[in-house]
Symmetry: C2
Subunit: 184 residues, 2 copies
DNA sequence: GTGACGGTATACAGGTCGGTATACCGCGGA
DNA sequence: TCCGCGGTATACCGACCTGTATACCGTCAC
C-alpha cells in the first residue's frame, strides 16, 4: 500500500512538480483518501522522499566486463530518455524545488548520486584505468550533461553525444598496452 | 522600475523556487506594493519570464581567438558557480517548475539555450574545426554537465572537469596540422 | 490650479494548500 | 461474538495563493 502510494506520487511529482501537486490530487489519482495517505506517511515531505525510490532511472548493468558495464550505463540513457515523456533527471527536478538543505528527500538524493559516482569509480578501478577517481568524475559530468541536455530537446543526440564522449574518456585513461584492443 | 522588480524577483525565484515565492514576498522585498507590480507585469507568469533576463549566468568572452573564447566560457564556470550561492543552472531550475510547454518563460529559455549552442558552433567553425555542429553538441553537453553536477557538490571539481574535457573535445576536432601548436 | 499618473495602504474575492477531526463500514483474529 | 484496524466519506482549520477593488497622496505638465 505504502509503495503504491509512493508510485502514484512519484508519477505526479515528476510530471507536474512538487509544489504543483497537492496531496488531494495524489489521493484522487490513487483512488484513496487523504486520510489514508497520512496514515502511511507522516507528511508530504516524507512522501516526497519515499517517491524518489520509485522514480524511473537509467539502468546500470549488473554484470559483465567493467568497461562494458560503463558503456552499458551510457547506452541505457537512450531508452531511459525515450520512455515516459522525459522531462529531466528526477533528482535534479526534485532538488530544484527543495530549498531546505536538510529536507529528507535532498539527503536521499545526495546519497543516491554519490552511489552513482562510486559505481563509476569502482568499474574504472576494476578495469585497471589510471586515476579511477578522475575518470569517475568525468563520467559523472557527462552523465549529468546528457540528462540535463536531453531534457531540452526531444531527440536523443545528447545521449549519443555523451556515449561518444564517455568512450573517449575511457580510452584516454586506458594503459597504452591495452589501448589497441579496445572496442572503438 | 520594471527592471528593478524583475531583478528582485529573479533573486527570490532562483533561491527559493517559482511556486514557493508569492507576489506578496516580491513586493515586500522590493519595498513596493503588489498593486505596483501588477501595473508593470500583467501576471506572475510574465514576471517569471522577465526575471530570466536578470538571472546570473556564466560570461562568454566577447572577443579573442575562437578557441580561446570557448576555453574562456568554460573557465568562467568557476567564477559563476562560486558566486551567489549556486543552486544550479537557472534555466534548468525554472524549467523544472514550468510544466506548461507554452509558458512564456519556457519559450524564452529555449531561445537562450539554442543561442548558446549556436555560439559554440560559430566559434568552432571560425576556428576551422571539423564538424562544428558535432563539436557544439559536445560542448553543450559538457557545459550542462558542469552546471548540473556542480549544483550537487559545493566544490569546483565539476567545472574543472568540464574545462579539461572541453579542451580534449576541441583538440580532437582540430586539423592534424595545427594540433601541435595547440595550448594544452 | 488642476488633472493625470504612479505610487501607497488596505482589504477583499475565490481558490488551494497541508493537515486534522468526526463518523461510519467491513473484515479477520481472539 | 466482538473488538480493533484499516479503510471511506466529508467537513473543517488556518494559512497562503493570484489577482482586483477602493481610496488616498505627492509630483509634474500644462
Amino acid at each position: 500500500m505504502a509503495n503504491y502510494i509512493a508510485e502514484v506520487a512519484a508519477g505526479l511529482f515528476y510530471s507536474e512538480g512538487l509544489h504543483a501537486v497537492g496531496v488531494d490530487r495524489i489521493a484522487d489519482t490513487a483512488g484513496l483518501t487523504k486520510r489514508t495517505i497520512y496514515r502511511h506517511y507522516r507528511s508530504k515531505d516524507e512522501l516526497i522522499a519515499a517517491s524518489l525510490r520509485h522514480a524511473p532511472r537509467a539502468s546500470f548493468p549488473a554484470s559483465g566486463a567493467p568497461l562494458e558495464r560503463i558503456a552499458g550505463a551510457f547506452d541505457s540513457l537512450e531508452a531511459y530518455m525515450t520512455g515516459t515523456q522525459y522531462r529531466g533527471c528526477p533528482y535534479i527536478i526534485f532538488t530544484a524545488e527543495l530549498t531546505a538543505p536538510d529536507h529528507p528527500a535532498r539527503r536521499l538524493i545526495e546519497k543516491l548520486l554519490s552511489k552513482r559516482r562510486a559505481w563509476f569509480r569502482d568499474r574504472a578501478a576494476e578495469a585497471g584505468l589510471a586515476n579511477p577517481e578522475e575518470v569517475a568524475e568525468e563520467l559523472d559530468v557527462l552523465f549529468d550533461g546528457a540528462l540535463a541536455s536531453g531534457a531540452k530537446r526531444g531527440d536523443l543526440v545528447a545521449a549519443e553525444t555523451a556515449q561518444r564522449l564517455a568512450r573517449r574518456v575511457v580510452a584516454a585513461a586506458m594503459p597504452p598496452a591495452e589501448r589497441a584492443t579496445s572496442v572503438n
